[in-house]
Amino acid sequence: MLALISTILAQLTGDGEAGLSAIGAGLGYGLAAIGPGVGIGIVVGNAITAMARQPESAGVARTTMFLGIAFTEALALIGFVVFILLLP
C-alpha cells in the first residue's frame, strides 16, 4: 500500500524537475548566505572595535550594530524566502 503511494508520489512530482528545483533551492540559499555572512562579520567586528576603543559610546555602537545586522541579514532572508518558495 505504502509502496503504491510512494510510486504515485514519485510519478506525480516528476522526479527530475523536483530534484532540480531542490538543488536550485539549496544552492540559491547557500549562495545568498555568503554575502550577508561576510557582511555581518564585518559589521560586528567593527562594532566591537568601536566599543573597545570608546566604551562610553558602546550604547550607540550597539544600537547601530543591530541596525546594520538587520539590514544585512535581510539579504540572507530573501535567499531563505526563495528557498522556501522553490521547495517541492
Binding site: 503504491l4 503511494i5 508520489l9 506525480l12 512530482t13 522556501i84 518558495l85
Partner: protein
Amino acid sequence: MSKRLWAAAAVVVAAVALSASAASAAETVGSCILDEIAAAEFEGIEGDGFTAAKNLKTAYEAKVEGAEELKKDFEKDLEGCLEAPNPIIPEVTEIIWGGAAFIVLLALMKWKLFPVVKNLMEQRTQRIQDAIDDADRQRAEAAEVKANYEAELADAKAEAARIVDEAREQAGAVRADLQARAEADIAEMRERAAADVEASKRQAIADLQSEVSDIALGAAEAVLGRSLEDPEMQRQLVDDYIASVGAGQD
C-alpha cells in the same frame, strides 16, 4: 500576580494546547492521498477504492484505450493533496484575528493600561527626585545653621576676648589710678608732714627764743636787780644779744 490573571493565562494556554492537538490530528499528505484513493471510482474500470486504482494501473500498463486520460485526471486529484498554500502568502482569517488583536491591544494600551504604569513610574521618579531635593535642601539648611552657629561662636569668642581685654585694661587703669592717687597722697602727706615739721620747728624756735629770752631776762633781772629800769631797753638789749648768739651759732 493575581489569581484572576493566572486563571486567564491558564484558559488561554489550554485553548492553544487543544488547538495544537486538533491540528496534529489534521490530515497529512499521506492520509489525504489514502482518502482520495479509497474514494476512487473510474468510468469503465471495475471496482472502487483501492481495487479501482489497481485496475486502473494494470489498464494503463496494458495501454487500454482511455486509461491514460483517466490516469491523468486521477493524478490531478492526487496533486490537490500536495498543493498546500504557499507559506509566504498571508491568510485573510489570520490577518483579521491578528490585526484585531493588535488594534484592541493598542487601544487598551494607549488609553488605559500604559498611562497608569507610566504615571506610576513618573510619580516614583518625582517622589525620589523630591526626596533628593528635600535632602539637598535640608543639607544646605544644616550647613547654613552650622555656619551661623560657628559665626556666632566666633563672635562670642571675640566678645569674650574683648571683654577680658577691656577688663584687663580697666584693671590696669584702675591700678595706675590708685597707684597715682596713693603716690599723690603719700607725697602730700609727706609734704604736709614736712611743712608741719617746719612749722613746729619754727614755732619751737620762736617759742624757744622767747622762752630763752624770758629766762635770760629773768636771770639777768635776778642778777642785776632791777638795774635796768627801762624794760623796753632791756628787752632790746637781750634780743640783740640773742640774735648775735644765734648768728654766731648759724
